[in-house]
């Protein structure tokens, strides 16, 4: 890498360490694995930096992070990925929404575990949209899927969260 390229890399990639770690942590659900994934992602990013064509470095870097994280999942948590399929999930659960649901602050922990329970593909979409604030187009870039798939994953992810949270709050009732 030339000096100017190195500088570009720093400017474009280094500010997104938090975003990279957040996504890796949510996908792997393992703090050590997340660190490995981020480190590996920066290595890959440096290696393939020539294919970055400027603009916002975050979606580009996150695309590498998600691939690295899914590689890790495929190796160590293969059942987690296998359990989800956009096609089959497209039938079924979309019609029904739980009734009005107010989430109190003390339910933070249940929100966390509900999100952890989502299939990784849905969790990824929710994390990128809600925690990272990416647009549908950016998420499509990161996940390498059509924008329509992004839209349905986000909708479905949220509905499943609502259902899980509604379930968990009902369990607490006497």
């Amino acid at each position: 890498m030339q000096a100017h390229e190195r500088k570009l890399f720093e400017q474009a990639m280094v500010p997104h360490i938090d975003a990279a770690f957040n996504l890796a942590r949510w996908l792997t659900q393992d703090a050590h694995a997340a660190e490995d994934v981020v480190q590996e992602s920066y290595l890959r990013a440096a290696r393939y930096f020539h294919s970055f064509h400027g603009g916002d470095g975050r979606p580009w870097l996150l695309g590498i992070v998600r691939r690295t994280a899914f590689d890790w999942l495929g190796k160590y948590r293969s059942e987690a990925i296998a359990s989800y399929n956009d096609e089959t999930h497209d039938r079924g659960d979309d019609s029904m929404n739980p009734a009005s649901l107010a989430i109190r602050e003390d339910e933070q922990q249940s929100v966390r575990s509900a999100l952890e329970d989502l299939p990784p593909q849905l969790r990824e979409a929710i994390v990128l949209r809600e925690l990272e604030g990416l647009s549908y187009q950016e998420i499509a870039t990161v996940a390498q899927v059509p924008i329509g798939t992004v839209m349905s994953r986000i909708s479905r992810g949220r509905r499943q969260l609502q259902q899980r949270l509604a379930g968990s709050s009902q369990e607490k009732l006497p």
């Binding site: 720093e10 770690f21 290595l43 989430i103 929100v111 809600e130």
Partner: protein, 252 residues
């Protein structure tokens, strides 16, 4: 727009991903339809909960410094994902890559560091229209100024090179490399020459060293316990002449 359509588009609506027309249609519907309005409230509440800062995992300081400070190859020994050789090779690449400014500064020799600040100061002096603190072509005005007004604890050589067509433009007090330094400004056919000088930390004389940075020519040497740095966009030959003349006249 009916409830089914609204329900289908509620999420992209909440995300601001719809075109204006549909966005407004749904907004109208949500005002009128209580059931759909409830759905939207519920969604809103979920989104608020997801925005809680506690859910965001920030990169641990150790990881951050591992990516930014020169410990990557060491840490790679503990890696679990990649074959070690690839990791080390890539780690070195990353190291070189990421450390960038930091390592450039750390690995730089003292001369490189000074060259950078001297060059930056030269460029700044041209840009901010602050070339001189004392503007005079008379060395007998410039030289005392540094002692009387700037209260420097050393007396710079200020040779008069006007006969050789290097005109003294004046002097400036700068602060470089953690110390006050004298900047003398000479002109050669409208090219500005900044000459920086300050007492050296060693007593050893150094011959003239040559550098080129960003198209500027740099010369530096040490003589009679004083350090000299010269920067200009003047061509090599004329700058070398200047250095030679300066040394001859200063030695007188």
């Amino acid at each position: 727009m009916n409830c089914t359509n609204v329900q289908r588009l509620l999420h992209p609506y909440a995300d601001g991903e719809l075109d204006l027309v549909r966005q407004l249609e749904i907004e109208d519907h949500l005002h009128e339809c209580r059931a759909c309005g409830q759905q939207e409230k519920s969604l809103h509440s979920l989104r608020d909960a997801l925005a809680a800062p506690e859910l965001y995992y920030h990169a641990p300081a150790a990881l951050r410094s591992r990516l930014q400070v020169a410990t990557v190859p060491l840490r790679l020994r503990q890696r679990r994902i990649l074959p070690r050789l690839v990791a080390v090779a890539a780690g070195i690449l990353l190291l070189v890559t990421l450390l960038g400014t930091l390592t450039r500064v750390l690995w730089m020799s003292a001369d490189d560091r000074i060259a950078n600040v001297v060059l930056a100061d030269h460029i700044r002096s041209l840009q901010v229209n602050h070339l001189t603190d004392v503007e005079s072509s008379d060395r007998h005005t410039v030289k005392p100024w540094f002692q009387d007004t700037a209260r420097l604890d050393f007396a710079p050589e200020v040779p008069d090179l006007s006969e050789e067509d290097y005109t003294l433009k004046g002097g400036r007090l700068d602060y470089l490399a953690d110390r006050p330094v004298v900047a003398l400004v000479y002109l050669r056919h409208k090219h500005v020459i900044n000459l920086f000088t300050w007492p050296g930390t060693s007593t050893k004389d150094k011959t003239v060293h040559y550098l080129t940075r960003q198209g500027y020519h740099v010369r530096h040497w040490q003589r009679a316990d004083m350090v000299y740095w010269v920067v200009s966009d003047l061509n090599d030959q004329e700058l070398d002449d200047f250095v030679q003349l300066f040394q001859q006249h200063a030695a007188r």
